[in-house]
Symmetry: D2
Subunit: 263 residues, 4 copies
């Protein structure tokens, strides 16, 4: 049995994979779960192992009943105690008008963006609370704090997710479980999510953003590592990250009209 | 056909009923929809009619597929154009630990608290946008802006609702549709919701709060009336209300320890 | 002696003047204070009187020691009890780099934007609390909730002002004093402030914004009237207003890049 | 000349001293500035030197004109380039009614809490921007995000400070300067600030909070170290910390009435 386990749900080649690698280098047994692309998963797991780390991969349909629950049970039973779990599933589908957002799309957004985290918490908090120790990291998005045009499904899911992080923290912090909600307020160099969303335009997009213009998932992994190891007398609950070239969500994007619109 | 219609989904004897009465006095045909208690509904409708107002009542299971959609179609076709709709369904179930919040409870909270508003918007915004005019009022709760212990289901639903109000506003304000999210940050003198939640303790609770210690739904109805009639050059989107005796959600409740915990 | 007085500090031809007119029509004796332009002030006062209202004008250098305090004393002694006071002084100076924001500019911004409200509250709350009744309306700006580039002086002053409104409300709401902080999140058709800031460009600016593209101060005056007359069981503390064509501060301004920057 | 300098303004035995020690261990020359207690300052500096670090101490009246400016010049000229500066001055004076908050108290709160940071930024950003590199860490308080009863001076100062951090970030992030605003939402084991505020009650207070019930400044120093070394593609701007036993500011403190006040 491993001494302590890091589990990530949503283990693509971006944030999930890099954070798994970081925790494996730090001595954790990393368990990587993702929905599809077994070859990609194997590549991530073997990459960690080649660097001397311990890792296990598993395919998982997080939207299906019982899957997350079964995974938690299996890891706790067969691999080791989960010290840190990263819920890394997004629900971004690009900008769509309300008319172009069917009921089933809105519901699926909620299943992945909000309900899945609820199910994960249901399954993992009893283990963590019993040990008086554990961390739940949640990758979140700007849509958790403001609802832009076209983001009906995404923002409703993420807004629910953020409030859920607060209620989880309110109940479980006194039981030793640290819940951290991280607003990634910028684009990430993530081939499996943004890369697939943009397709051929991905490289040109990154070029246009310039050097350090998109979040390096390895950098974000260091922040996750830091959060998961804050002593319990000094826990952060809500953290934001963005590239230095990006305007924070609360600021206007600069535009030619700004000089004539004093606020 | 009525010249303009006010529709409320969630028409109990508290906020919904009083707001319907206020709009009826202002010349609107009020349509009141609620889930159950036909006798209570009839009483509200007849009360409005006795004061010379126009009102129609209908029972509606908002959580069931197609119901809200059918209602919107029916009202627009048979009664008149919906100028203002009030989404007044809550999802408060009291404080429950995560272990005591089953999956189906969490999902039902979302269906009533968030998905129902999405369905309503889907159905009503085409009518409103076509007329370049309309108001969607949303009764919301403190749980939309912070997640207290025990509020997993409620806060996740309300947090999603708030972000959805922002995305709806972002898309539809330029099309003449005013979306206002109202955080009711205090108890309401509402026999059909808080009254039922507290049961026999309701009267004692109100006594303990003192004169003007709970929100009078007639007072809130005036604020809803005001919001629905703001000229489009001066729209409010996020508004809070509470009794003067209540501590706003962002402040601590005063406690004996406050003098020794400087922040 | 008047039965009840409405006092506005910062009575230009925009928000201040229109709100004074609204309260005078509602039966208040309106007291209008502004820094300069006695002719403009007289015009406002006579305009109210010609419509049958009661009004008094006074010039006031709000940044100078003792001025606000003396005014409160004088009004309470000679005119009547102040029911509602509107603190309507802005501190917007346009966008300036830090290097172009001298120490004295930053300090003056604070004197007008934050310290003046503190002085006003010091002077007026004893009167209001003794009567267990009163309203302090505060015209605020987007800069109270987010700090854009170039807004060092303005945002620091307004951020302090917003927190001060919260501490005032926390102390004085239980004593019957209603403090309402109103974020005017858009341009106002105010000849004495925005008009002077933009100069000759003002008319072209309004044209470019289109019909209802800037806040009509008469419309905002109605919202102030509503807030000042909410029963104490249903007070709003933080309210925002903007034209329907403006993007709320929490949303991005739409730009060509938005499709390629999913958040 | 040192290769890189860490400067702290407000270097007591708590956050300031521990962060200086952390950066000295990381290879920085630490410059510690505080208002008084030369013996205490010498002890901190010698403590760092005994562990093999480099440190310099200086007494500084931050509220006086020109002092911060002169210090920045002197450090840049005589010691080395400032990589990270920590503005660690508080303005907490305990809870006081408005009547018990004189004008000069409110002004002093602003001078230390807000204006001092403005002056620091004025002096240090030209150096940092010229190098396209630098970090400004700001220790902040819960009062920056909400105004509790009795906090008039403190909250107005901190609310201004937070907005100033946002405007500084908006202007200087694109120039390579990272501004991080850290809300310390709990008590800190700081003998020179909280210790002096509570006096003899300090030890009993810490006992009552329990193990890990107050923030260990050494733990916070690690978070500051992490923030100062985030790659510029992944900067955090607003971060909160608190002990696991403390209720976050956005949650109610649990009280007996919570079951009967559903929100």
């Amino acid at each position: 049995m491993a001494k302590r386990v890091f589990l990530v749900i949503g283990a693509g080649a971006g944030i999930g994979g890099h954070t798994a690698g970081r925790f494996a280098r730090g001595g954790y047994h990393a368990v990587l779960a993702r929905r599809s692309d077994e070859a990609g998963l194997t590549k991530l797991v073997e990459g960690i192992q080649e660097q001397g780390g311990k890792a296990t991969g598993t395919l998982l349909d997080a939207a299906a009943d019982g899957t997350i629950e079964e995974l938690i049970d299996r890891v706790e039973r067969d691999i080791g105690p989960i010290h840190t779990v990263l819920y890394n599933l997004g629900a971004q589908i690009g900008n769509r008008t309300l008319a172009d957002t069917p009921h089933r799309t809105f519901e699926l957004g909620w299943r992945l963006g909000c309900f899945g985290l609820f199910r994960l918490a249901h399954a993992v908090t009893p283990h963590m609370a019993a040990r008086d120790n554990g961390t739940i990291l949640v990758t979140s998005a700007t849509a958790a704090v403001r609802g832009n045009a076209g983001q009906h499904s995404h923002a409703a899911a993420m807004g629910g997710r953020r409030m859920l992080c607060q209620t989880l923290n309110a109940e479980f912090a006194p039981q030793g479980v640290h819940v951290a909600h991280v607003v990634v307020d910028g684009s990430v160099d993530a081939p499996d999510t943004l890369g697939k969303l943009l397709g051929e335009r991905f490289e040109a997009y990154k070029q246009a953003k310039g050097v350090d213009g998109v979040v390096d998932p390895a950098a974000l992994a260091e922040t996750y590592w830091h959060l998961a190891h804050q002593p319990r007398n000094c826990w952060s609950h809500e953290v934001d990250v963005r590239p230095y070239t990006d305007v924070p969500w609360w600021n206007d994007n600069p535009n030619p009209g700004i000089d004539t619109k004093p606020k």
